[in-house]
Subunit: 283 residues, 6 copies
Amino acid sequence: MLEVTPEVQHLIDLALAEDQVFNDATTSALIRPNVWGVGTFHAKAHGILAGLDVALAVFHRVEPSVETEALMQDGHGLEPGSTIARVAGKASTILRGERTALNILQRMSGIATETARYVKAVEGYRVKIVDTRKTAPGLRYLDKHAVRVGGGHNHRMNLADGVLIKDNHIELLRHRGMTLPGILEQAREMAPHTLKIEVEVTNLAELEEVLEGGAHIIMLDNMSLEDMSKAVEMVGGRALVEASGGITLENVAAVAETGVDLISVGALTHSVTALDISLDIAA
Amino acid sequence: MLEVTPEVQHLIDLALAEDQVFNDATTSALIRPNVWGVGTFHAKAHGILAGLDVALAVFHRVEPSVETEALMQDGHGLEPGSTIARVAGKASTILRGERTALNILQRMSGIATETARYVKAVEGYRVKIVDTRKTAPGLRYLDKHAVRVGGGHNHRMNLADGVLIKDNHIELLRHRGMTLPGILEQAREMAPHTLKIEVEVTNLAELEEVLEGGAHIIMLDNMSLEDMSKAVEMVGGRALVEASGGITLENVAAVAETGVDLISVGALTHSVTALDISLDIAA
Amino acid sequence: MLEVTPEVQHLIDLALAEDQVFNDATTSALIRPNVWGVGTFHAKAHGILAGLDVALAVFHRVEPSVETEALMQDGHGLEPGSTIARVAGKASTILRGERTALNILQRMSGIATETARYVKAVEGYRVKIVDTRKTAPGLRYLDKHAVRVGGGHNHRMNLADGVLIKDNHIELLRHRGMTLPGILEQAREMAPHTLKIEVEVTNLAELEEVLEGGAHIIMLDNMSLEDMSKAVEMVGGRALVEASGGITLENVAAVAETGVDLISVGALTHSVTALDISLDIAA
Amino acid sequence: MLEVTPEVQHLIDLALAEDQVFNDATTSALIRPNVWGVGTFHAKAHGILAGLDVALAVFHRVEPSVETEALMQDGHGLEPGSTIARVAGKASTILRGERTALNILQRMSGIATETARYVKAVEGYRVKIVDTRKTAPGLRYLDKHAVRVGGGHNHRMNLADGVLIKDNHIELLRHRGMTLPGILEQAREMAPHTLKIEVEVTNLAELEEVLEGGAHIIMLDNMSLEDMSKAVEMVGGRALVEASGGITLENVAAVAETGVDLISVGALTHSVTALDISLDIAA
Amino acid sequence: MLEVTPEVQHLIDLALAEDQVFNDATTSALIRPNVWGVGTFHAKAHGILAGLDVALAVFHRVEPSVETEALMQDGHGLEPGSTIARVAGKASTILRGERTALNILQRMSGIATETARYVKAVEGYRVKIVDTRKTAPGLRYLDKHAVRVGGGHNHRMNLADGVLIKDNHIELLRHRGMTLPGILEQAREMAPHTLKIEVEVTNLAELEEVLEGGAHIIMLDNMSLEDMSKAVEMVGGRALVEASGGITLENVAAVAETGVDLISVGALTHSVTALDISLDIAA
Amino acid sequence: MLEVTPEVQHLIDLALAEDQVFNDATTSALIRPNVWGVGTFHAKAHGILAGLDVALAVFHRVEPSVETEALMQDGHGLEPGSTIARVAGKASTILRGERTALNILQRMSGIATETARYVKAVEGYRVKIVDTRKTAPGLRYLDKHAVRVGGGHNHRMNLADGVLIKDNHIELLRHRGMTLPGILEQAREMAPHTLKIEVEVTNLAELEEVLEGGAHIIMLDNMSLEDMSKAVEMVGGRALVEASGGITLENVAAVAETGVDLISVGALTHSVTALDISLDIAA
């Protein structure tokens, strides 16, 4: 689900406010309120569309009477020249909302496009490409929606909806004399019973300890392909196995080949390349 | 100036809320409130630091009693292993704030680092590298600060602090029978007298019209290097000249060579590569 | 963890605003700003203290210079006459904050006290008493904290941190031709992989289907004691078993006797009896 | 008046946010957006309906296109099986809003139902049953509306709309040498002239002082029935008389018999028993 | 009481945001963060100081480390050259906050000064000068505080803390066949029992009806001096009498002479003349 | 442009909240929800209408189903008796919104009316009357719109959309050894290139320095008419010239006669006289 929820609406408001759209010096000086226009979104590159509902909602917030028409839905493939959507109303409304709408659409489509590349690269394997919490501040919900549009799956949305015991937790607890099985036992006892427990391991020795302790998901952090294959074998279906760290478009298929269940890719959201989309306005 | 203004504080709150840091299932289950820790930020790549004040403010918002120490300031050069800052306090506080702080620091340092590359590429020219309004929604202020840290300059912060007559405005107004000089005259009469007037032109014929009309700044949109050189000559110092469109690290020096005053680069903020920075926590 | 997070602070602000404490007609008319006072919280009944940090934070919000001293911590037993905490500062500050602080403290202590009764009633069994999402609007976080203070455990905090397939979901999906095992399979494929999957069943036939489908947690809804015992036996440790519906202080031990892992009690938070606590102010 | 004012809307938003309805893991995994459903609210107990407008507004906030139909109005009597309202639209919308809507409806109907019991218990007397400021934090407005629906009246909404001089005020002022008549004189001089002045007394001696001082309303705090009767006689219509403290369904008629004008009952809002109401969803 | 309550703090934030103080182009360009300064507030006219706490709080919000020193308190008399307060800190902080602080201080001092003129004009009469709800949107609380500083009293703060039956109510109710005594009876029965009931009358015939009906306060709207004198006599102390409409500094003493208890003056807050105060900054 | 932007809507909400319109004791007691009424706005004085859209939006916020009809637009001339607009709907809605709507309409129309007087006084000169940042806190946007309605022009909206180097900046920088030309050079180098640079001068010697330094706009602060005439001559069209300080309706024509381009008048917004407008409600 991505609809324009109150939280998304709040983000739109924030973006419109920081752009001072209701105080647009150029439009106010030049474009009378009675000038009507039609804006058309065109793709200027190959990719996957994402974020269209949010982008169109921007114009409705600037002026409720604007009319918008989506010519495709999120997930649709784009190529240079594809016509995506139309906005009709006061030309001043379209001009005010243009930059904010494009900033949203270009980022989200960029994420979906790159995700689709990873998904395609592992086609034929039963692995899932998943994202991380490495999103732009305030954009978690939009960034993660775009990953889903691109065919990826979401890892934790936030700190509340999954237990993930990472190197820093383990370091602190080992320092106090706890072992990995002991840590897992405490997690099972204390964490909400509705959440699975995931642990990060960096080598096969740790993996053995974790298997003994009984985790639901095991994250292999920056392991070699060889070790990942061994790890999958050692786990033998008793837990989900997630590969993490240093994943690129070049090596992702080889990682999938090891038999892991999930491959998480931080770059999907922390290093986004905007997809080139433009808005042309005609009278 | 970048300090933690109320608007930045609001963004931190938004980021902490979307990450549900006060409902962190892992930390609550495993790390007692009386466990103390020290977190250290290290660079893992070459680059320029940006956003440290904001990143450290994240921890203060999670728990006001935390102690933070900046070992360098925004603008400092980073290399793999550089120690950036320390955070001391409840280990649970550091764990809760970690991801949010890193997300901010990595994006802002990524922007500053890339900006510095452009600035270095035009060293020796009197041109300024400037950003655009193509920023992530809600992050305008942080993104633009990072550009300044990297040695770039800011173009308009928003629609209110500059008049920029673009293709879409011109198209609409020509349709109603106005000429470029006429448009410029109306802008001078109607726009706030404290703002300069910038116009986008796509060829030398339009440039001539605009010079006649009297713009303060002229944006050359996607022109060839040859035409840009001619344009600079034609303007002859009567206006600032800005090159825009299709600028890359490869061609930016050649663009500077044409003699333009400003080169605007959308990719600085619309296509950010996060700089690799980590936080290690010790007991 | 319950500290005065930004969300809790927001709730305090809301409560102070709805009580118009900064426009207190009585205090403004009668109590000069230079009158100092000491307020003492006393219990007037037997119970368990909960919410003290939040209650004291109310006074700090009214006037930051007030001094508060907690004489006990959340979870401490109360009896009539127990002295809980002191507040010293301008008498007007204490008078303005009194009602808001007491409303929080009495509700939260009421919840903790009742929870503790349930926990005591099942002493000796390895069952957990858990709450539900049947909390007062806006008070989810405080209500659930009070349950933990009373020795209970939390079920889902919200719709995001657990999958719970209830009668209404099943009804809708059966109508579209799906079976319980099919529903479970779809949930496993589509829901975030970090979440366990819980299903509600109302009889042993459904239970059998669900076991076949492979749920992590099974909620027995309003079953007889006899059926619950049989269900526990049928599950045989393959999933967590939760008893739900019609639980009272009178029958909770008998339910525990059936061997279920979890007993959820909506009344803990939907039907709260405030614990009697007063604030006496002396000059 | 209870309509969905901006303040009530804000509370709905708060409740939807804390339940993360737009991130509902179960519904997103199982119920496609094109599945339509009809939800029906049924009573499962005897009582009085309150809060229906607010409960239905919850669904409109989740999805504006939902259709809701109230089959009765606030104040209507309920019995097991009564059909209260219908909600038609996307099944996912109904599932997301269900818990929040029920939490509001069950609490408010619980308050109205209990209030109606008190009102009925004093039938035939010209006394009014009134509430107090002992409401759940953030729910003042809803709680007090439910009291009115049940036939009760509201005491002060907040500290601004009435002067009420209580034991703590009197203690502080006596300490500075003031007498009750002196306190009343100061209140008349200093408090807004649009507000009546109420004073709390605990015995007949204080009552005499207060009558001399000229209060508009006199609160008899925890007095015996005998003393209350004497108090009513002493006042002789010169002020409104309010009984307060220790009122129960068992003794309220006897208190009314003393001739007081108002009986305030804190338990109406501080110790609410939710009324059992359910929502059944059909395809 | 006027302290910097959360509501006032919110207003300061709003004012700082609308002035974009954290994006001050002039100060950022010219004044380095390490330049320190001292700002001094001077009066440039005769008047009464009001709003100083709020004005100084502006600077603390811009930068918490700033130091402010109030050399006088609200209510102090000013003359040209009076030194009011000092602000010491970063010069950039003082420059950013200057305009917002002065806008608050000049308006509030203007209100206090004009109120004091009315109060002085009726010196010797036992009448109170009161304000109205004719305040600038969002500034109710500050405007009304300034009236108190000037020696005036406050009428209703808002629609909740007083019953005031005006011409428009009466017109609507007469149309439905009600008489003034009937209206008053309904108000007594239905309105909160803590509020007094005020009625507006425009002539002596209406006054007679209202006296019969039993109002607590009677507003004489735009009556002649002669009729007001008669009205005071007719009321004979059975209610408070308020003169309203067309009051000026020229006629206010004559109105007081008629013996009314209260004179309300809308112009105190709807037509404010700012008091001239300046801020000089030295290095 | 002035439409009811999110920021204006927020201000309306703030005003309705401070007036507690949803808790209106009088209307709730007397006017049933099924009583319908029509309110008519009438002018009671000569002037210029401003703010009507905002005033009517107030009623829509109280109750979305209300119907409003504007009989004239902002900028229309008013005389006693002019009918401005009608509001039809529940009488209770009109009564609740009345005061808030009038407070907005009367202030904004007051500003427009006074501005129009200044504009008329300089008719025939090519000078512009401009406002200042001396607006009521939170009302910047509305106040400045009203100035435009009255025929005036806006100076800077806030600190971000113009560079204005004032006495305090100059004092601080001179103290550090800078000259006016040096200050101007730094401003040109450091300030956003889209903004013009304005400098305040107090005498002709400073003017000479500033002309040398190359400002875009020069503010003559409190100069004599004779010096202003000389200044205009000295500038000779190389910069815009603004007269500021001590401007009144009496001297504004003489100031215009000196040939300045702009005359700024703080009193337009810091000392507003409300225009008398009333709302009459009929059944």
